[in-house]
């Protein structure tokens, strides 16, 4: 646990508007906007694979926000992020190699 000194008499509003609170609110807004704006892609006329790519990029962006801020890996030792990436890599390998094997 961080050795922070938190204001323990803060009101609701004060807690929400601390620097930390503001960051989370900002991330939340960004996530909602990203989720809603998926549908713009459908109007963009980029075809199935364009849509596929677009949606996956958006999902990756949302994931990055959640991981960096809500799971606060941004402020943690890098090793936690690397290992997250390693497990992701392991399954992507399984996915890619298994799929490739039947082509």
């Amino acid at each position: 646990m961080e050795e922070h000194n938190y204001d323990t008499d803060a009101t609701w509003k004060e807690v929400l508007l601390t620097d930390e609170g503001k960051v989370y609110i900002g991330v939340y807004v960004a996530l909602m906007v990203l989720a809603a704006s998926k549908f713009i892609l459908f109007e963009a006329g980029i075809g199935y694979w364009g849509l596929f790519t677009g949606l996956m990029v958006m999902a990756a962006a949302k994931t990055a926000l959640i991981v960096a801020y809500f799971q606060h890996l941004r402020w943690e030792p890098r090793i936690l992020t690397y290992l997250y990436a390693t497990s992701l890599f392991a399954v992507l390998l399984l996915m890619a190699a298994a799929s490739y094997s039947i082509t």
């Binding site: 609701w12 989370y24 936690l80 298994a98």
Partner: protein
């Protein structure tokens, strides 16, 4: 008060024999002690004894097999009984004996080798053990549910689906494996956290003893590999219980199973071998009086092997229809992985050549193991060549190969039991009986397994063979009985020596160097009298607490909840095994008797889990040691992360199954199931429930992080309000889900309707299960928060949040993949 113990001549400076049976634990000769203990040494003993029980169980099955093979034709067993024997023998030996006996040694020895008081999470450790035992119990029950599984330990599809193996017992086997994997996952999280954060001050990764090194690498492989197995078993259980079609459908089927199983399976063969390797490395040093030659390179080679083990799995699929390019790649990686193994073998041989060897029993077993392993490894390289494997696949050559390597592992571990027997019991085993055991064992081993090379043309798992092979098979049968009988010499030796063996002090071996030998045998409950430290370059006990007392004097060692949780889980899974009647034609109804058992188990599980959560329990801490690269990460948070990494693999493997099936079918042919997907590339009311749920879940992620912020400011109302909001949002998610699913069921489109529906239900179902589990935990946290927790210590909220955000992330991908594309 600074006692020193020279680590090379380690004579018991662990101090007075205080607290062998501390006031925190009932005495050693009471049943209660063994039900409530959370001490790593007790759990280690429980693991070892239980695994030996399963060894005998699996061994009896092996002898049944060998008796059947005495004659070329029909014999003692029916075809069904033979199939069950072969299958159960394999599963029990690999999962319920070989790994657990190593885990037992690791439990006992690793904390001692690294200077820790216990594992990082002692109650979790007890839970791992009890879940393992309960899983074995469920396996045993399977024989009485219309028959156990008969399709081989590899559970190859489609034999593993109800169309071909309709017995309830077969489902129990899958669920028993699932339970076992849960046990393994908890154990992995625990050992990783322990080894990475609880080493004595001054001990870095490089200085760790070799056994601890091999265990560490084993556990890392386990964390990822077993997660893939969990996913595979989850899909298989779904096929068997809710009649999904993963392994019956052509698009999934045997190839999909092959990939999922062997992605786990190849690392698994090193998982069972590595701890044995660790024992070899320890004993070779101790009994040759020489430090391991090329220690650094040995460690690097082992790390390489652990990584490479995930890159070769398709050498088990050379005879399937996967393409030649990938087969060739896998052949190359397979050959590449034998290179670091060569290095290990040479390092071991060199160490022995340079040292002065003493042929005590532990050494004999490990030397034998090395010889056997070399034979097994060489025959494996044959199998790694595609062209040769066309001949060998599915024959006794394979059987002989993997018995030489795997049972070589067991051989080293038996050596380990002899090696640490004096440490664990305080008495020396009988050396003559030990050597006799080895001689008979080695003869029996080679008779039974070498004869399998001789009959290499025989197809495996079939009991009829051509009459010309009778003699070799009979040699094998005789060898099997010799091997089996030799084990009783060990059991007798250990039982007898417990009473009459000469007493030993801390260290009976002249050249042992590791820390477990520096304390009395058996070690006192709390292991150390001071705080062990390597700061000065050798093991010392330093005094850090202000009043000179023992720092962890008040650590707890007893909890009844782990055994109760495991018992409840057993009941729950037993109920699941027969809850639905799935016949050759699919889902045929719910079995109310089994449903009642499931419900009962679920209730008991809730109760016992809450009991554990409510209990005050002080686990040991290690504030000083070297934790690189995990410095500064609090241990429960680190444990949560380790768990999440494995969960990434579980979900990833399930999603991989989906991608595989979709590609196999033809990407465009696949009809996305999500609501209104029929509306094509656009639309109005498109995928509305999925979209709503996306907003709901993202919002719940936001509220749970707010709960943490409020908790940090000790703003109780804000914290409770945010947690409650999260809970309500999670519930909303599940309600929407319910309507979405119900609509499909009403339309007659259940999991067996089409492969797309199987994939849709089973994948979103796994996510739903995660949400429900999260809601249960969160309800408990809200209750605790309400009654005053988390104002000072908000770790639980933070860790829960990490999990909840992860579940959110999974949805971020499931939504487009299952509803939009």
């Amino acid at each position: 008060m600074t006692e020193t113990a020279d680590s090379t001549d380690a004579h018991g400076s662990g101090g007075d024999d205080h607290g062998d049976d501390h006031d925190h634990l009932p005495g050693k000769y009471t049943v209660k002690r063994w039900l409530v203990t959370t001490n790593h040494k007790d759990i280690g003993i429980l693991y070892i004894l239980t695994s030996l029980f399963f060894f005998v169980f699996g061994g009896v099955l092996a002898l049944l097999i060998r008796m059947q093979l005495w004659t070329p034709g029909e014999g003692l067993l029916s075809g069904f009984a033979y199939g069950q024997s072969v299958t159960a023998h394999g599963l029990l030996m690999v999962f319920f004996f070989l790994s657990p006996v190593a885990v037992g040694l690791a439990n006992y020895i690793v904390p001692l080798q690294i200077g820790a008081d216990d594992l990082a999470f002692p109650r979790l450790n007890a839970l791992s053990y009890w879940l393992y035992l309960a899983a074995g119990g469920l396996f045993a029950v399977s024989f009485f549910q219309g028959g156990s599984f008969e399709g081989g330990w590899t559970l190859y599809a489609p034999l593993s689906v109800p169309t071909f193996t309709p017995e309830v017992g077969a489902t129990s086997v899958m669920l028993a494996l699932g339970m076992f994997v849960i046990s393994v996952t908890l154990g992995s999280v625990n050992f990783l956290t322990t080894i990475h954060t609880m080493k004595a001050d001054g001990m870095g990764l490089w200085n760790m003893p070799m056994f601890t090194w091999t265990v560490l690498l084993t556990i890392w492989m386990m964390l990822f590999a077993f997660a893939a197995l969990l996913a595979a078993v989850y899909l298989l259980a779904a096929d068997r219980i809710i009649a999904s079609q993963y392994f019956l459908a052509e698009e999934g089927g045997s190839l999909l199973w092959g990939h999922l199983f062997w992605f786990f399976g190849h690392p698994e063969v090193y998982i069972v071998f590595f701890p044995a390797l660790g024992v070899m490395l320890e004993t070779f040093q101790t009994f040759s009086g020489r430090r391991l030659v090329g220690r650094k390179w040995v460690i690097i080679a082992m790390v390489l092997i652990a990584v490479q083990s995930f890159l070769v799995w398709m050498h088990h699929m050379f005879l399937t229809t996967i393409n030649l390019e990938i087969k060739t790649i896998m052949m190359a990686t397979t050959i590449a992985i034998s290179l670091p193994f060569d290095l290990l073998v040479f390092a071991m041989i060199y160490t022995l050549v340079k040292g002065k060897v003493r042929f005590n029993t532990p050494f004999l077993f490990n030397l034998g193991a090395l010889v056997l392993f070399i034979i097994g490894g060489i025959t494996g390289v044959f199998l790694g060549a595609i062209v040769l494997d066309y001949e060998f696949r599915g024959t006794y050559w394979v059987v002989a190969h993997f018995h030489y390597v795997m049972v070589a592992g067991a051989t080293a571990l038996f050596g380990g039991l002899y090696y640490w027997y004096p440490k664990i019991t305080g008495r020396m085993y009988d050396e003559f009986l030990g050597r006799l055991h080895f001689i008979l064992y080695f003869i029996g081993f080679n008779a039974v397994y070498f004869s399998q090379f001789a009959v290499w043309e025989m197809p495996r798992r079939v009991f009829e063979y051509s009459t010309g092979l009778t003699l070799w098979n009979q040699i094998g049968t005789v060898g099997g009985f010799v091997l089996g009988a030799s084990m009783f010499i060990m059991f007798y030796n250990f039982a007898k020596s417990l009473k009459t063996g000469p007493q030993v002090d801390g260290n009976p071996w002249k050249y042992s160097r590791t820390a477990e030998w520096s304390i009395p045998s058996p070690p006192p409950l709390e292991n150390w009298t001071g705080v062990p430290s390597y700061e000065s370059g050798k093991l010392e006990y330093v005094d850090r607490s202000p009043d000179g007392g023992h720092e962890e004097a008040h650590a707890d060692h007893a909890s009844i909840w782990p055994v109760l949780i495991a018992a409840s889980t057993f009941v729950f899974f037993l109920g699941l095994s027969g809850i639905s009647d799935v016949g050759p034609t699919g889902f045929e109804g719910v079995n109310t008797g089994y449903a009642a058992i499931t419900g009962l188990g679920a209730l008991a599980l809730l109760g016992s889990a809450a009991g554990l959560g409510n209990e005050r329990f002080l686990a040991p801490e290690q504030p000083y040691g070297m934790k690189w690269p995990f410095d500064g990460i609090e241990k429960t948070k680190l444990g949560t992360w380790f768990f999440l990494y494995s969960d990434v693999v579980v979900f990833g493997a399930v999603i991989s199954a989906f991608i595989f099936i979709r590609i196999h079918m033809g990407w465009g042919e696949y009809e996305t199931v999500g609501p209104n997907s029929m509306s094509g590339l656009l639309p109005e009311a498109m995928a509305l429930p999925g979209l709503i749920n996306t907003f709901v879940l993202v919002t719940s992620s936001f509220t749970i992080i707010l709960a943490l912020v409020f908790a940090k400011h000790q703003h109780k109302k804000g914290m409770l309000a945010s947690m409650t909001a999260t809970w309500v949002l999670g519930l909303t998610f599940m309600v929407v889900k319910y309507f979405e699913w119900a609509e499909k069921f009403d339309a007659g489109q259940g999991p067996s309707y089409a492969i797309e529906y199987s994939v849709y239900f089973v994948t979103t179902g796994l996510h739903g299960v995660h949400v429900v589990l999260g809601l249960l935990v969160l309800a408990f946290l809200i209750f605790k928060g309400y009654t005053g927790s988390y104002m000072k210590d908000h770790r639980a909220i933070e860790n829960f949040g990490l999990y909840w955000h992860f579940v959110d992330i999974v949805w971020v991908f499931l939504f487009p993949l299952f509803y939009l594309l």
